[in-house]
Symmetry: C2
Subunit: 119 residues, 2 copies
Amino acid sequence: MNQSSQKLRLHIRLRIYKDDLLFGTGIAELMEWVEKTGSLSAACREMGMAYSKGWKIVRRAETQLGYSLMDGKKGGSSGGQMVLTDQGRELLRRYRQMETEIIQLADEVFARYFSDVNL
Amino acid sequence: MNQSSQKLRLHIRLRIYKDDLLFGTGIAELMEWVEKTGSLSAACREMGMAYSKGWKIVRRAETQLGYSLMDGKKGGSSGGQMVLTDQGRELLRRYRQMETEIIQLADEVFARYFSDVNL
């Protein structure tokens, strides 16, 4: 018997590296907030992330990619000025789709290995 | 053109949760070091981990599992006294096998989404 009735859950964190960390769930979420709020600083606030950190994550990705993920006033506190570039939006879409596919496959494998209650 | 010639790599971190974090790469590696060194404190040293942290990770897993992962003198600094239980060894084996399978599937998905050089 297990000690509690909570089910086992698998959590997966994906990260894409090139020279350095390039892309992952953090920047994906940040970009989605930029899309919603039109502002990098508002996006950072939504994520409880320091603006300097958000900006660093975006810059690190853009440097390695060789293109911009977002366009507009990066430093502005007025908001409503930042949009994802087409390339940024495409990368984000592709990453999220890949992530969904991997999580689904991984959950299937996990269930196969850990479906019996007693481990 | 990309900014550098480094290839993109996918990194995956797996974690199994129940009430709390139960198992993952950290404790798997720790158990492998216990297997090699016969000592939890030596295993922690090999991983650059405080003994108190190693002990906490093991205890947290064991509490949720309802069985022991290792047996012997947990606090001893003499070493050579700690072995994995059969259940511990089986859980470790199963986790590593699942991990290998998931990484392989994920790498295939990753290659499908990100094989083109320009992202």
